[in-house]
């Protein structure tokens, strides 16, 4: 089986605190679109950030094919299983090579607000760009053209020279997708990409993400907390609960029982009980 990421026994604790991730074992294939469900604090963000080591894992292995780091697109020998690298213990050079191929999308978009949309998109090439030239925002013509093409793919070509903070939230998130595309990513990690957007924009952003992922064969891991969106977009859904994966399967397999396992098993508290004052002074129910 083709393999993009193989996570084995991943653990994470902050300081001496409790484990946020407890022995996570899971693997992802190239081109999969995986949605991740779970309550706040279930470990979704930590899991995603461990995969490109924005957060250092406490233990476990994150195996990725060496071919991704080398940039060679084709497997030299299709019959043999590809050589794997453990990212959890990789040195700074290999880590950077991996990050170059892993796009990341955030809830708060994290664009540089005072920079143009185009420069924001171009920042996706920093991992490969000439160090000195890029510091002074100078990029080769070919890269600028590629940036414009990627902006076109997310439908924002006309906004290329506007300042990023003049765009709406949904547009900013699509700029972030274009920025990730500049990395020619094999994987895109999206941490609650639509949590700050209204339902209509959420659908737009996820449509865009899904389309480019299918076109380029990118593995996408996206955490969502809207069940319907997760079912609609995911080829596969995984559910986190208390730092463990408690569901892994096709959207059809996500039964009510499985949802309860993800959301309600422990630590779930019902909404507050009856108000202490029994009297209401205005028209209750008129809302």
């Amino acid at each position: 089986m083709d393999l993009m990421i193989d996570v084995q026994g991943l653990r994470k604790a902050y300081g001496d605190g409790d484990l946020i991730l407890k022995d996570v074992n899971i693997s992802f294939a190239p081109g999969e679109f995986v949605t991740i469900l779970g309550l706040s604090g279930a470990g979704k963000s930590t899991f995603l950030r461990c995969l490109n080591r924005l957060i250092e894992p406490t233990g476990g292995r994150i195996m990725v094919p060496r071919s991704v780091l080398d940039g060679s697109s084709a497997q030299p020998d299709p019959g043999r299983s590809p050589e794997l690298v453990d990212l959890a213990t990789a040195g700074p050079r290999e880590l950077r090579l991996w990050r170059r191929r892993v796009g990341m999308i955030f809830q708060q978009f994290n664009l540089v607000k005072r920079m143009s949309v185009l420069d924001n998109v171009l920042s996706g090439t920093l991992g490969e760009a000439n160090l000195l030239a890029s510091i002074f925002r100078s990029f080769p013509k070919a890269e600028r053209e590629r940036a414009l093409r990627n902006l076109d793919r997310v439908g924002l070509l006309d906004q290329a020279y506007q300042r990023a903070d003049t765009l709406s939230g949904g547009q900013q998130q699509r700029v972030a997708i274009a920025r990730a595309l500049m990395q020619r990513p094999k994987v895109i990690l999206a941490d609650e990409p639509v949590a700050s957007l209204d339902p209509k924009l959420s659908v737009q952003v996820l449509d865009t993400l899904k389309r480019v992922a299918v076109e380029d064969g990118i593995t996408v891991l996206v955490s969502l907390h809207v069940l319907d969106l997760a079912k609609t977009y995911g080829d596969r859904i995984i559910g986190f609960q208390g730092g463990r994966i408690v569901f892994d399967g096709k959207p059809e397999a996500l039964t009510d029982e499985a949802v309860e396992r993800v959301y309600f098993r422990e630590g779930y508290e019902h909404a507050p009980a009856t108000p202490r004052t029994g009297i209401s002074t205005s028209a209750a129910g008129a809302v």
């Binding site: 796009g103 955030f106 005072r114 920093l126 490969e128 160090l131 907390h225 209750a284």
Partner: protein, 358 residues
Amino acid sequence: MLQQPPEPGSQPQPQAPSKPMTEPQAERKVPKSGPLDPAKAPSTPPRFQAAQPRALTAELQAFPKPPRHGWKAWAVAFVLLLILGWSFAGVQFDFKELLRGAPQMVDMFQRSIPPDVSTLTDPERYSLPEELGLKELILPMPLEGELAEVKDRWWRNTFPNTVLGATLQTIQMAVAGTFIATLIAFPIGFLAARNTSPSPIVYHAIKLTVNFLRTIPDFAAGLILIAAIGLGPFAGTLALAFHTTTVLVKLFSEAIENIDPGVVEAVTATGARYPQVVSFAVVPQVIPDFISFVLYRFETNIRAATVLGLIGAGGIGLIMNSDFRMFQYPQAAMSVIVLIVLVMLVDYLSARLRRLVI
């Protein structure tokens, strides 16, 4: 209309409307066997239930009381009063002295009126060299050897001793001093910010050093520098640059520490290296603050340059000082007026500029 009394065993969900749309959706999917017991489940979905309005009457007594501060507030007030009394005693504050001095103040004021406008307007004051016309003197044009020397001498020595020349020199000191300080403080600011410093050791070392150096006021630095390199605007400029650097490093580094870390995370995640992260994620976020700080320090430095003039470091302060010492009050008054106009002008312009960049 009154709300229905809660049915026994029912479970109102008072905060439902404030919840995001999405979570109740998840709740709806809960099977009947789940933690929401069917007997206890509300008949309407929670998100359609109204919030509980607040009671305004005696029922309020059921709410928790705000914490009271009582004796602590009194203790703080008492200590503040003690400090105030102690300070006023220390400065020998005395209204009688103030009243006794009032006639002198009035006298000084009367003797300064009218201010001697001629220090500014009378061409005689500028002792223009006879060998040169105004055009040759002001415009940068090629001149014969000796004439060039005359021109040079006038610009270096004569003009800065006039009110206008000294005022311009004060501005020049502030511009040059602020510029040098900005150049030095810019890179150091990144080393002195916790989130961009290459190592905690560097961060602490620089912070400590700069905090120590900042305690040296600019006129103290001026006294030292004048003793070392002599009277004149150069020593004053260096003193300004020195003190401004220490202040700007503090302001810059604090601005850097307040940036949105999400952008840094995003740029780091692309595989960017440290200088690229600084250039793309940090600098664009802090540039408006930096410009604002530099302009603000420039305003401050105009005033500081004047004070430095009083101790012999050139500029309008020097002229004012010598006027006062020679009891030439009308002239001194004119210098004060020029200074006031200058400071107001600079404040106004830099406020406009700052509004442009923010």
